[in-house]
Symmetry: C2
């Protein structure tokens, strides 16, 4: 895959054919948006006038119940795609977890382009199938794992994705930043923030992880961490 420099459509989102003519067209309909940490990007029910690719930062997708219970249903890291071609209303809340930059494409022209270019549609289908798979992995976590396995799984995933952003495999001794507050982690894992805190303390006490400050995590032995997740050690969960 040819690299298109600093242009965000180099991301896997829409660029499996990076040197094709469509690239030029996409380039013409793109624009950038930035959000501060904590700022909402979309509320459930909003009209969506764009689709977008995450350039930098982290966004979350969350469902809420009226009484305030919330469940995060997705975490969007750089190169992830936001939006539903063919849909008008946002199905869940999208919030900037950290400072966030999106590369947006106006929805109408994007859809028109899609209708003319089969590989774009199949690329999006492929990405959506990936999302569906990870949503279903997450269902296993939410429905059947213990608090302890949940936290370990989350840390393993964050470590893996963090390494992947640097095009590496997660290595022993690697450090990464926890981009989420304890409360956000709780909402992602279906726990309370107290339980998250306690489980992290316990992992620390047992030497599975080390904490540098509150947010930086060092994993001295990655296989050890994986063995705490409840997953089949090779394959399975980590996607």
């Amino acid at each position: 895959m040819k690299d298109c420099g600093t242009c965000p459509i180099q991301h896997r989102a829409v660029c499996s054919y990076c040197d094709a003519d469509e690239l030029v067209e996409l380039d013409q309909i793109k624009y950038y948006r930035s959000y501060d940490a904590g700022q909402p990007v979309l509320w459930a029910g909003d009209h969506m006038e764009f689709v977008a690719s995450v350039v930098e930062g982290i966004a979350s997708l969350a469902q809420a119940m009226e009484d305030g219970r919330t469940q995060m249903v997705g975490l969007l890291l750089p190169s992830d795609f936001i939006g539903r071609p063919g849909r008008d209303l946002a199905p869940y809340n999208v919030v900037a977890v950290t400072n966030l930059t999106l590369c947006c494409f106006r929805k109408k022209p994007f859809e028109e382009l899609m209708a003319r270019t089969p590989h774009l549609a199949s690329r999006l289908l492929e990405m959506t199938l990936d999302e569906l798979d990870s949503a279903r992995e997450w269902m296993l976590l939410l429905g059947r794992k213990t608090a302890h396995e949940k936290i370990s799984s989350l840390l393993a995933i964050l470590a893996t994705r963090d390494a992947a952003l640097r095009k590496q495999k997660p290595a022993d001794g690697a450090a990464f930043d926890l981009p989420l507050t304890r409360e956000a982690m709780a909402d992602y894992l279906g726990l309370t923030l107290e339980t998250v805190s306690r489980q992290i303390s316990s992992l620390k006490k047992r030497g599975v992880i080390e904490l540098k400050g509150k947010r930086r995590v060092v994993v001295p032995d990655f296989a050890r961490l994986l063995s705490e997740t409840g997953d089949d050690v090779d394959g399975g969960m980590i996607s």
Copy 2:
């Protein structure tokens, strides 16, 4: 949408353009398969040589952990689609819950057809987005709802889908069959079978539902049932 008679590709799966030429092609690569209740259709990791549309009966998608814990991640009713164009390996176990008939399309020619027909790809994209939405609704249920809300939600969904198969809205006093054992419900809801049984007994005792035998459920007041689900009463969950 034009009806193509008894041919299963009338299902929304692949037939938004029922009178198009592709229909003829699809017809040439289709074949049927039947499974008995309880029989496996695919194991996670199997090679998939077909994609398929459910004609009759119910199938389940499930993830399993090595120690036996399992989580159902999807329930496939007639008109639902099985398979991932572009993927080779089955990501989860597929099991026939009741007697099951599938209309299968050989994968290779199906994919070739897809590559040539943009509307087929976008139809599948749309369906996959729907699946993704319901997977995420289910994540809210698994992560944040009480046992009591979980059971009510499941019953509401089954009642709704059952009515939909007859092209109706769920009505007060409507009856439907529970196609699942207590254990299967438990695996779907992230509970144990004992808890499922107790919660159903409690709903019965409080008059929210009536049971005719073990498997037939009557819902005297559908709004009452909905109010027990924890969802926003209009819209939300029921999809």
